[in-house]
């Protein structure tokens, strides 16, 4: 009896235990299933669309670069070759320093400035490759064996602006982006690295094993390790991280106010307080740094004081690195690659001389002697013999700096250069003779455009556009007007004179003013005309009317009656760059912001967008002579026979 009861109890207990086990299993299964679903959903949510394909740039329609400085920013060594990259090109050198190949942006590579480069073996490849970050074209991957490029191109354009690269020990690639956080690519999947990094502007990356350090524009420093992410901000001298370096258990983060030292992942102290380092290199005993002012100094890691044992006053180093087994330290500067031997820096590689002194072009014009005047966005002026028979003349001073416009005085055959610091007048042999500023009666120092007209007396009058109104300069003196006198807006960016010289069109931030006899005759805005955008960036007289470039509505034509006509094909949401319009007998050319060159064929009455062959899609200036068009961009200057444009 007792044993029957015991058996019954045992059976019941076993049944209960089985039921409990089944229930627990079911619960665990459901939990696991739910977690798996959630993980997949999270992973899916972080997965980003992209293409990974061999790079096949469209054929160059015939653009020929005018060489500009290499401006090296980064270097790497791979399979016996040395690679140096600048915004306009990737140069491949032999071990002996011979230039083997140059891959030019816009021609051999996409029209996007190149950023830092690195050598890494990705998970999907057996051999190391060269990785090249670009500002707008994702990551380029160079296979030295096949001598081919592959492009990793995120579908979202915001993810294509890559600022930093690093690889984990697993072979995963980390991509720091300009404004969209930190991405990871394992060969198959492109995803946000971790949610903590979403929408952060990454400035520097460092991967040590599986530890990831990421410097940001203004959110301090992130450190991901063992599945967790630490965020350092108030512990740093400043929230901006310029660059990172590591040695052993130490990580160094350069900020504008000093270098934060981390030991074993924890903030330890600030080195070189007050120093804004741009490039760092750390070894066991010392930290080498270069400031933006060009000082290169070494810091003994046992001291918080800088030892000024090494001091350079040349270009600042963009990167420090070791390239071979010798352990020698190299510095990448814009003007070459340098090696530290003993306590001196010696040049190892220097780029071939360039025709231009800078690559950010803001204005172009031909002088009567056939030389091309090239105004730089934040530098001075190059006067270039396009036949390359004479060296380029470079002019730069406190006024000839930040060029906006170069104009030819058709009567006196002299040049005027409008800058952010006044108007510089040259004589007929190209020597600066006079600077006009506010002290001389200009309504503002910043001159954005110049147009010449002829007065009934036969004298020449200059009309200057400024952000504060218009200034007229003629034999009677200097006088100005602005909104007080009826100008539609004070900010004038573009000028054009009618063919007969009797009318001046002033393109402003708030519409168009038409002036005659020194007075505003008519104001045209989106409220009272067919103008589609009030902000006028460029203008030129064409036939009996004008062509108008706008900030956001492409190009429009304005006829003598004040009627605007859209230029179909070039009127979508396109930004025309300041003064980036040119009319030739067969074409109208418009330089856009990020959308390349737009060419209008007068014969076909059709616009064509041209991107291939340009070093940048930001087209800023034009000039023409002898059938050749010169096209300035923010990343270099190219020329093309006009006959090669779509007719």
């Amino acid at each position: 009896m007792a044993s029957a009861q015991a058996r019954r109890l045992l059976i019941i207990s076993a049944a209960i235990a089985t039921l409990l086990s089944l229930s627990i299993f079911a619960i665990l299964y459901r939990v696991h299933s739910t977690l798996s679903d959630t993980s997949r959903a999270v992973a899916d949510a972080h997965r980003l669309a992209y293409t990974l394909a061999p790079l096949s740039p469209p054929p160059n329609p015939g653009f020929e670069p005018i060489t500009s400085p290499a401006s090296f920013r980064s270097a790497a060594a791979l399979e016996g070759h040395l690679f140096l990259a600048g915004p306009a090109a990737l140069n491949m050198y032999s071990a002996s320093g011979t230039l083997e190949r140059s891959f030019r942006t816009g021609i051999d590579l996409p029209s996007a400035p190149l950023g830092p480069i690195a050598v890494a073996r990705l998970r999907t490849h057996a051999r190391p490759q060269l990785l090249i970050a670009t500002a707008g074209a994702g990551v380029l991957i160079y296979d030295p064996t096949a001598q081919t490029f592959t492009q990793l191109l995120p579908a979202n354009a915001a993810l294509r602006d890559v600022t930093a690269l690093a690889t984990l020990s697993s072979g995963e690639l980390l991509l720091g982006t300009h404004r969209s956080g930190l991405l990871t690519f394992d060969g198959k999947t492109l995803a946000l690295f971790r949610t903590e990094y979403a929408n952060i502007a990454i400035t520097a990356l460092l991967a040590a094993g599986d530890d990831v350090w990421a410097g940001t524009q203004d959110h301090g420093l992130f450190h991901t390790h063992a599945g967790i992410t630490d965020h350092f901000d108030t512990q740093l001298p400043d929230q901006h991280i310029e660059t990172l370096a590591a040695s052993g258990n130490r990580v160094f983060a350069a900020t504008p106010l000093g270098i934060a030292l981390f030991e074993d992942g924890r903030p330890a102290r600030t080195l070189a307080p007050g120093t804004f380092a741009h490039a760092l290199f750390a070894d066991t005993n010392s930290l080498t740094l270069s400031t933006l002012a060009g000082e290169t100094q070494a810091l003994a890691l046992t001291s918080t004081r800088l030892h000024a044992s090494l001091t350079e006053t040349s270009d600042p180093a963009e990167q420090f690195l070791t390239l071979d087994t010798s352990g020698d330290l190299y510095a990448v500067r814009r003007n070459g690659l340098f090696r530290r031997t003993a306590s001196r820096w010696t040049a190892v590689l220097q780029p071939t001389p360039a025709a231009l002194t800078d690559n950010n072009i803001a204005a172009l014009a031909f002088a009567p002697d056939g030389r091309l005047w090239v105004g730089m966005f934040d530098h001075g002026l190059d006067i270039l013999d396009t036949s390359a028979t004479a060296p380029t003349q470079h002019l730069e001073d406190d006024h000839l700096f930040c060029i906006n416009r170069i104009a030819l005085d058709p009567q006196h055959h002299t040049m005027a250069v409008a800058t952010a610091n006044g108007l510089v007048l040259f004589d007929s042999v190209g020597k600066p003779r006079q600077v006009l500023t506010r002290r001389d009666g200009l309504i503002a120092d910043h001159v954005t455009d110049v147009v010449y007209t002829q007065l009934p007396t036969g004298d020449t009058r200059m009309t200057l556009a400024t952000p504060a109104g218009l200034t007229f300069v003629d034999a009677t003196g200097v006088q100005s007007l602005y909104a007080f006198q009826g100008l539609v807006n004070n900010h004038v960016y573009a000028l054009a004179a009618s063919a007969d010289g009797n009318e001046i069109l002033a393109g402003t931030l708030g519409g168009v003013s038409l002036l005659a006899h020194d007075a505003v005759q008519r104001n045209l805005t989106i409220a009272n005309s067919g103008l589609r955008h009030n902000w006028i960036t460029a203008a030129l007289a064409d036939g009996t009317g004008y062509m108008i470039g706008t900030y956001g509505a492409g190009v429009m034509r304005l006829d003598r009656t004040g009627h605007f006509t859209p230029m179909e094909g070039a009127t979508r949401d396109m930004v025309i760059n300041p003064n980036a319009l040119l009319a030739t007998p067969t074409h109208i050319l418009a330089g856009s912001l990020g959308q390349g060159l737009w060419s209008y064929s007068r014969t076909m009455q059709r616009w064509t967008q041209i991107t291939a062959g340009l070093p940048s899609l930001n087209v800023t200036a034009f000039a023409t002579r002898d059938g050749n068009l010169y096209i300035g961009t923010e990343n270099g200057l190219v020329r093309i026979p006009e006959s090669k444009l779509p007719q």
Partner: protein
């Protein structure tokens, strides 16, 4: 890339809000960070002097040590006499130092990474002229969850026009900014020697009157959670029945003077001060009353309108507004002419023309169509005006900032002397009336010019034009009391007696201030010529051995003495003795002069001095010790600035130092708004400073929406014109043909910008265009027009 229309401005340019502490990185007060917990205002109006002592306690609501910028918009005619910050239990007062010494101290402090606020006279900040009218100081540190106590004291002259006096405490915020105070206390004491009538306290703050009599009142206001949406105002009339009497007040402290517990200036001095007296006479209409405006003989008005480059922006608009207001006040029987001047002159007509509607409109169009030229030859302009002054009853009206850098002489003293000589040589010398515009107006020169039988009125950028223009125009229609003197006998009993007013009209107060060394009795005699009849007022005054009332008199006298010495320097050039005395008086009585600076003690990191408005060019002016400047832009660009050595000036302060520049492109997807650029400055000693400035992406002009209650208005009808505008709007002006422009100001109650539009009773019936124009801080313009019908 957004390559254009990036305007850079100093943080405080957008909001001239008053008595506010703006947290760093902010453009307006943010009570979530720094709230105003207590504000106590003690106002003592003693005859024509108002002393305002403000105590404010701000609370930091964050866990961080905060810093902020304290701004106070000073009314015209006012001078800061003290400022102090409390650091826990320690009161840190401001000090007056000789300018050179102040600059040395400033430079020394800067090397220690601190920045004493430096207030100097005559600085010209081309970033925003409003800055010179705003007392501004960086306040740091403000402890986490702690408080910061600030004290500000200033004195203001109370003007009298047509027997009316008014006092305004500027509390109303500019634009749409506003400030709330948790505990608000106001104590107002008003006392005048002359009996007053029709005393009105503004409705915004319901003051409780504790005591009131014929000579003043005492009132208080206490409230919690008060929105400072309006100015605190008081207006009153002086009883004409008490006119033509001399009232004398005195102050003498025979011992080493002790500061009144509530009076933080003047500071204690080593030796005993002399005694001071002030004699004031309210000038009545007299028996020979002037003709009313309608019955007065026709006048000839010669308007000298300065359209040189220095008048660009607000000064030109204000001058135009003044010209418009003046011309519309003329009767058709009057005649006028407009003479534009810069380095040249251009007359509207060869000779004055009748002030009919057609001529007035043509004259205004003439001004509007004129173009600006660089350089100003004021002497040439004055000569052109005198050449047209050929008849009696002619008035010259000069609308200018008083700058003159061309011509026979640029020395103010010589310009004034030359003019005075030519003026006296005329058979019918005109009244020389001056409406000075701008904070940087050359008041010294203009005051000398106005001594030629004229008046001087100044409007600063922080003040509405209307009030000053009204006062100016009211005086224009009257003849001043001429040949006004005060004789004191025995003459040895009083020293250094100075008039406090340049020009006196009937209905206003003429005041003199003087020193005395021994107690005595004085006979005072005022003489003058009123409405072509002599006026004589006599009084006997006892100068006591001790009288601690009227503590403002020493400082008032010192200011008058300094003004006299500055006039002397203007006329005769600098002398060591004059400069030494100015410095001594300024240090003793806390006066800001061309030779002394007010070193406010609140400290901050070094700030770059000037960031000019303009397109994507960043300009920074720094002290000469700065060796490098690097800008960190919010969109990921880090750029060193270029040192423009040719633009360097040796001075420190806003006007001088080293100029740095770079150019940048903001991404095209940056929305319109205010952004911060961070600057890393490094000096020759290796010290690094971090500073932040804001820039404004202003790619679209401001938008305006007129809120008109009706578009059919009757002649004589007044309506409240309201308009809304974009947040970036700085000024909002309504214009209706034939009327003076109307400034619309923010009104919290109606949540719109508001102004009064009055249709003149004689306006012809018809359809008119009413336009309201908004101007933002980048000088972008936006406007809206509506049609209105004027009915009988």
């Amino acid at each position: 890339m957004l390559s254009l229309a990036v305007a850079l401005t100093l943080t405080t340019a957008a909001h001239a809000a008053t008595a506010v502490l703006i947290p760093r990185d902010k453009q307006a007060p943010d009570p979530a960070i720094l709230s105003l917990e207590e504000m106590s205002v003690d106002i003592t109006i003693d005859n024509n002097d108002a002393r305002i002592f403000i105590t404010q306690i701000f609370l930091n609501h964050t866990a961080n040590i905060e810093e902020g910028t304290y701004n106070f918009a000073l009314p015209s005619g006012s001078t800061v006499s003290d400022f102090a910050v409390w650091d826990a239990a320690v009161r840190i007062p401001a000090v007056i130092l000789e300018r050179k010494r102040a600059e040395e101290v400033y430079a020394q402090a800067r090397l220690q990474a601190i920045d004493p606020g430096l207030l100097q006279m005559g600085e010209r900040d081309d970033a925003d002229p409003a800055h010179t009218a705003i007392f501004s100081a960086k306040i740091t540190p403000i402890p986490a969850y702690g408080t910061k106590r600030l004290e500000l004291e200033y004195h203001q002259r109370i003007d009298t026009t047509a027997f009316k006096q008014a006092f305004i405490l500027p509390l109303k915020p500019d634009a749409a900014g506003e400030q709330k105070v948790h505990k608000f206390h106001v104590h107002l004491t008003l006392h005048t020697a002359h009996p007053i009538t029709n005393l009105k306290l503004g409705p915004a703050y319901a003051l409780n009157i504790a005591q009131q009599d014929a000579h003043g009142l005492t009132a208080t206001f206490d409230a919690t959670d008060t929105l400072l949406a309006d100015d605190l105002t008081a207006t009153w009339n002086l009883d004409p029945a008490a006119a033509d009497t001399l009232e004398i007040v005195t102050h003498r402290d025979p011992a080493a003077p002790q500061t009144n517990p509530g009076e933080t200036a003047p500071t204690p001095t080593i030796g005993p001060e002399p005694g001071f007296f002030q004699a004031s006479a309210l000038i009545g209409e007299g028996t020979a009353k002037p003709a009313t405006n309608d019955a007065a003989p026709p006048r000839i008005i010669l308007v000298l309108f300065d359209n040189s480059l220095s008048m660009q922006w607000e000064k030109l608009e204000r001058s135009y507004g003044a010209a418009e207001g003046l011309l519309h006040k003329l009767r058709p029987t009057d005649r006028f002419n407009i003479i534009l001047f810069n380095q040249d002159t251009a007359a509207f007509q060869p000779t004055p023309v009748p002030a009919d509607t057609a001529h007035i409109q043509a004259a205004l169009d003439f001004i509007r169509a004129s173009k600006l030229r660089g350089g100003t030859d004021l002497g040439k302009a004055l000569a052109a005006a005198l050449a047209q002054s050929t008849e009696a009853n002619t008035s010259l009206v000069l609308l200018t900032d008083g700058g003159s850098d061309r011509g026979v002489t640029i020395l103010p003293g010589k310009i004034a002397a030359n003019y005075s000589r030519a003026w006296h040589a005329l058979p019918h010398p005109p009244h020389t009336n001056i409406f000075a515009v701008g904070d940087d107006a050359n008041i010294g020169l203009l005051r000398l010019l106005a001594k030629n039988d004229g008046i001087l009125e100044q409007v600063r950028s922080t003040e509405p034009l209307d009030f000053h223009l009204e006062a100016f125009l009211a005086k224009l229609t009257h003849d001043p009391v001429t040949a006004l003197t005060l004789d004191v006998t025995p003459t040895s009993a009083a020293q250094f007696v100075y008039p406090l007013d340049d020009t006196i009209y009937t209905g206003s107060i003429a005041s003199w201030i003087g020193q005395y060394t021994k107690p005595t009795t004085l006979d005072l005699t005022l003489r003058g010529n009123r409405n072509n009849a002599p006026i004589t007022i006599r009084a006997k005054a006892t100068l006591p051995a001790t009288n601690l009332d009227h503590p403002q008199l020493p400082r008032l006298w010192a200011q008058a003495r300094v003004d006299a010495l500055l006039d002397q320097i203007n006329r005769e050039g600098e002398s060591r003795a004059a400069i030494d005395e100015i410095i001594r008086l300024a240090r003793r009585y806390k006066l800001v002069t061309p030779y002394t600076s007010f070193l406010a003690v609140p400290r901050s990191l070094l700030r770059p001095r000037v960031i000019r408005p303009g397109d994507p060019v960043l300009r920074v002016r720094t002290d000469p010790a700065i060796a490098s400047v690097i800008a960190i832009f919010p969109f990921g660009l880090t750029k060193p600035l270029r040192h423009l050595a040719s633009e360097d000036t040796p001075e420190t302060g806003d006007a001088g130092g080293h100029l740095w520049e770079t150019r940048f492109l903001a991404p095209d997807d940056m929305k319109d708004g205010t952004y911060a650029v961070r600057l890393i400055l490094r000096d020759t000693a290796g010290h690094t400073y971090r500073e932040e400035k804001t820039f404004v992406i202003a790619s679209t002009p401001p938008t305006v929406k007129i809120l008109l209650p009706a578009n059919q208005l009757h002649r004589g009808q007044s309506i409240q014109l309201r308009a809304t505008a974009s947040a970036s709007t700085r000024t909002l002006t309504a214009r209706l043909q034939g009327l003076a422009p109307i400034s619309l100001r923010w009104n919290t109650a109606s949540a719109a910008n508001q102004g009064t539009l009055t249709i003149p009773p004689d306006m012809p019936i018809g359809t008119y265009t009413l336009s309201v124009t908004a101007e933002d801080i980048a000088h972008n313009l936006g406007s809206q027009e509506v049609q209105i019908n004027v009915l009988p």
